[in-house]
Amino acid sequence: MAILSKKEQGLLLDPLTDNNPITIQVLGICSALAITAQLKASIVMAISVIFVLAAGNVVISLMRNIIPSKIRIIVQLVVVAALVIIVDQILHAFAYELSKTLSVFVGLIITNCIIMGRFEAFALGNGPWQSFLDGVGNAAGYGFILVIVGFFRELLGSGTLLGFQVLGDPIAKTGLYAIGYENNGFMLLSPMALIVLGIIIWVQRSRNSALIEEN
């Protein structure tokens, strides 16, 4: 017995590995560069995108038979923008502290190409339950990479993880800093996100040669 059929499992799990939206489809790079300087921001962004993509996919899927194809992109944009703004307003009213951390991401979520990409490629042609799984899977695959990149950038760039000084205090020269280690400030800048991402793609493809495109 399985709660999910084989196809449904694939929808949920493939985007985590062999069909990852960032490393394989190379979508959502812009936000992956922008917010991965800290692990906390990466985690918050990952959770927000899981929520928005799953809900948005379901809404679009339910509307798929009535959306006029000529303006479908605009309809998708309106759905995701309305969704994000409503959630932002509710958080503002009932979880003010949290909303202050999240408000930075609102604009980034709306413009995230993974969201529009999944609406267009999947939700418009499939039922709500499958769309939901596809949304959760893709957003989780996106979030997974975000967290890995955020982990390395914060660790090597600031010497902290989630704000805790795990490598010692750089000003008082304790821990690793006592033996001459220095933070690499370059890790905090966007280009290094791209390089970290490149390394992840390289590692993934060298472990699974089926992912390498034929020339």
Binding site: A34, I35, A37, Q38, K40, A41, N65, I66, I67, P68, S69, K70, I71, I74, V75, V78, A82, I85, I86, Q89, I90, H92, A93, F94, Y96, S103, V104, G107, R153, E154, G157, S158, G163, I171, G185, L188, L189
Partner: protein, 246 residues
């Protein structure tokens, strides 16, 4: 199923969608507005109190912690003994001064501008708390700076709308804000402000008299924004601070 490719269907769908989504958003926004305003009011009170050192920071821990929201109103009336509004050279008392939106006041004509100023008292010491508003790299930055009667900074609070996490967003971290404490905003009798300086080479901020604090690496424009914000806003208050303290 209707033909979804027809022009008339497309137009009707678009109009209906705009009406439905528009009214939904308007409804959500207007029904949540009162709750959001209360939250914003508390936050402003928390920020003002934070600048004068009324907060729940733990020694040795790097996090900036406000007084709790359920206590903030009581604490605010306990510590803030005067709320003033400066308009056209006159200083008046106004108990709603903390609700003034500094951004719109700064855009107004000089004569119509209402500048809020708060006088706090803690342990028999007076604090003059000045609101700040300026521009960072991406969006607005704002804050409060508390000075004593000798124009020595007693504490600051900064916040931002959308600075880069890990870089400019760190202006609201304690290790940056704490550096301002003890700095002077005057040099002799002249107003000098405080500069967020690169190459200051004083990471522990041991030189207090130099009107400079160490910049954040990778956040030059946000840092310059903080400098400009302090210099332009505090400057407006300096003549009145001299008047009030006498």
């Amino acid at each position: 199923m209707a033909n979804t490719d027809k022009n008339s269907y497309t137009i009707i769908f678009a109009i209906a969608m705009v009406l439905i989504v528009g009214s939904l958003l308007a409804f959500v926004s207007s029904s949540l507005k009162p709750t959001i305003q209360v939250n914003e009011k508390f936050e402003k009170q928390q920020n003002i109190l934070y600048a004068m050192g009324v907060n729940e920071n733990v020694e040795g821990d790097g996090a900036a912690i406000f007084v709790a929201t359920d206590k903030v109103e009581a604490e605010f009336s306990k510590y803030i003994k005067k709320q003033l509004v400066i308009q056209n050279g006159e200083i008046k008392s106004d108990t709603a001064a903390y609700l003034i939106d500094l951004k719109s006041e700064l855009n107004k004509d000089k004569n119509e501008r209402r500048l809020p100023l708060f006088v706090g008292e803690k342990e028999n010491k007076d604090y003059y708390i000045i609101p700040l508003y300026g521009k960072g790299l991406w969006d607005a930055i704002w804050g409060f700076v508390a000075v004593d009667e000798n124009f020595v900074v007693q504490g600051v609070y900064f916040d931002h709308k959308g600075e880069t996490p890990g870089l400019g967003a760190n202006i609201k971290q304690r290790y940056f804000m704490d550096d301002f404490t003890g700095e002077e905003i005057m040099q002799g009798t002249k107003y000098a402000g405080i500069t967020v300086a690169k190459g200051n080479n004083d990471p522990l901020n041991e030189r207090k008299g130099d009107n400079k604090v160490d910049a954040l690496a990778g956040a030059t424009i946000t840092g310059n924004g903080v400098t400009a914000m302090i210099n332009s806003t505090v400057k407006l208050y300096v003549p009145y601070l001299k008047e009030i303290k006498i």
